[in-house]
């Protein structure tokens, strides 16, 4: 196994062992990072030790104790340091092997990192480091910010967790659903953050989608009967299956309908479809399952024209009932337009006209433009494409929208000059 992959897999286990023993999540997390860095430096030369997990735990425990001792020395409280167990005694052999604790450890860590006192961005960053075993530099790279920006963000997140008195344990039954929802939200954000990147330093951002899928797989493995966990994993896998077909050689986004379906990953499509079919037939329906089901309908069509839009519009309708959200309404409008024509779609879209969040969003105008164009109202369509292009904050999307403006024949827009 590649060293980096091994380290990532072991990171949450080692951190779990340490945190369970010493409680102080923030200091333990620093110690584990130190141990991971030491291993990444040493193992390529010396070879992977026979018991890599034991090696990491020993090194991390020593770093932790060193840190506490120097902290305490600083505070002139040497007496208390003597009470700490030396790492050699702490490391009895049973701690090194696979142990039953690791199941709960990964989940407990996820719950801790996705604690409600943190902002979503901090939850994602901390999860990547503590559970995913990424270095601060890698996380900073993935978010396209300098390491000097990411480092205080992570240490602040840890301080907030400490200040909130959050502990390393499984949430109570009462808190469980809400906390698991937060974990899934973080994994979803992590995936999106990586998936939304299409050009420039995109290779670094694949790191995020890969990591999100890996962690979601781990959670699914721990909670195989949870339909929403399976749904989220299916959604990620089905979305990721299309990644090779999403952009052309210039990094311009290719709309779903125009993608070369031969480039889609059939193995992932198979896996995602299987996951979502099982989840939907065995557990209570939820928003991730519905989104995955919609993604599955899209990728199962051999050509764009074969897409079962009726099924998609029904799924969106259910989704907008159980998890109302203007973006869902927007997508519902598209599906309705595909089954009942552009005017019917525009009617659905019209319900968002007074939603300030949406009218400032390029997607609303892009969809409107598209439907207006289909309905034959080219002047209005061109205006809407222009507005959408102005509001878009992504270069490929802006390029795409401008190309749509240019595609509308000029004889249709002679009178438009004064309006813009």
């Amino acid at each position: 196994m590649e060293i980096e992959v091994l380290l990532r897999r072991l990171a949450p286990q080692v951190l779990g062992t340490l945190t369970r023993r010493y409680q102080q999540f923030d200091a333990c997390e620093d110690a584990v990072q130190d141990a991971l860095l030491a291993a990444a430096e040493r193992w390529p030369q010396s070879g992977v030790p026979d018991n890599p997990r034991g090696w990491l735990t020993t090194v991390a425990a020593r770093r932790f104790v060193d840190h506490i001792r120097s902290e305490q020395a600083r505070r002139r409280r040497e007496a208390a340091a003597a009470a700490l167990e030396p790492p050699d005694e702490f490391l009895d052999p049973e701690l090194d092997g696979e142990q039953p604790g690791s199941r709960d450890d990964t989940l407990s860590l996820l719950f801790l990192c996705c604690h409600p006192v943190l902002t979503p961005a901090s939850q994602v960053a901390l999860t990547l480091r503590a559970v995913g075993g990424l270095t601060t530099a890698q996380i900073a790279q993935a978010f396209l910010v300098p390491e000097a920006t990411m480092a205080p963000r992570i240490s602040r997140a840890k301080q907030r967790i400490k200040a909130a008195g959050a502990s390393f344990r499984m949430p109570s039954e009462r808190e469980w659903p809400e906390r698991l929802a937060a974990v899934l939200q973080v994994l979803y954000l992590m995936f999106n953050e990586g998936y939304a990147a299409t050009s420039g330093p995109e290779l670094q951002r694949h790191e995020l989608t890969r990591e999100a899928i890996r962690l979601t797989r781990a959670v699914h493995h721990l909670l195989p009967d949870d339909g929403e966990v399976a749904g989220l994993l299916a959604l990620m896998v089905l979305t990721d299956a299309r990644s090779a077909a999403r952009t052309d050689e210039h990094g311009t986004l290719i709309p779903l309908a125009e993608q070369d379906r031969a480039l889609w990953d059939t193995r992932l499509i198979e896996e995602g479809s299987q996951l979502i079919t099982t989840a939907m037939s065995t557990s209570q329906l939820g928003p991730y399952q519905l989104q995955a089901a919609i993604a599955a309908v899209h990728v199962q069509a051999p050509t764009a024209d074969d897409t079962n839009w009726y099924e998609i519009s029904v799924l969106y309708q259910i989704l907008s009932r159980i998890a109302p959200n203007p973006m869902v309404t927007l997508n519902h409008a598209i599906a309705v337009a595909m089954t009942r024509g552009p005017t019917a779609g525009l009617d659905v879209l019209d319900t968002l006209r007074t939603d300030h969040r949406m009218t400032r969003h390029h997607r609303y105008h892009a969809v409107r433009a598209h439907l207006l164009e289909q309905a034959g109202d080219r002047l209005a369509a061109r205006d809407a494409y222009r507005t959408a292009a102005r509001l878009a904050t992504s270069i490929p999307e802006q390029r795409y929208l401008r190309s749509r403006v240019a595609r509308i024949p000029t004889d249709a827009v002679e009178k438009i000059g004064e309006n813009s």
Binding site: A121, P152, R156, N192, T198, L253, I254
Partner: protein, 122 residues
């Protein structure tokens, strides 16, 4: 989300301040920098030299022509910026309000989202 917090400066307004007030603005920037460094929101900041030190380069028929002075003649000029990465536009506005120049009569901070080479397919 990344935002550029743009400081447009009107030298007349700045010169009309007392030395004490001007120092307070400078100190305020120091404090602001410290705050956003600690919160992990700061990517970078630059102050620009006076626009009279600018020149504008235009290439016509393949030949560069250089003229002294700023691109735009106006009362205000671009004096500097902060590049931040924060949670939301609301937070960017909150940060902009912490920049001392924002509180000066006749001045304001422009909050502009940075375009990413990224996006979801449609």
């Amino acid at each position: 989300m990344k935002f550029l917090l743009i400081m447009h400066m009107n030298p007349q307004i700045f010169e009309s301040l007392t030395e004490e007030e001007r120092n307070a603005v400078m100190d305020g920037h120091g404090k602001f920098i410290e705050t956003i460094q600690q919160s992990g929101e700061m990517i970078g900041t630059q102050a620009l030299a006076d626009p009279s030190t600018s020149c504008v380069v235009r290439v016509r028929d393949g030949l560069p022509a250089v003229t002294d002075g700023p691109y735009l003649e106006s009362k205000e000029h671009l004096a500097g910026f902060y590049l931040v990465d924060c949670e939301s536009k609301e937070r960017a506005i909150e940060l902009a309000a912490m920049i001392p120049d924002a509180a000066l009569d006749g001045l304001g901070i422009e909050v502009r989202p940075v375009m990413f080479s990224a996006g979801m397919e449609m």
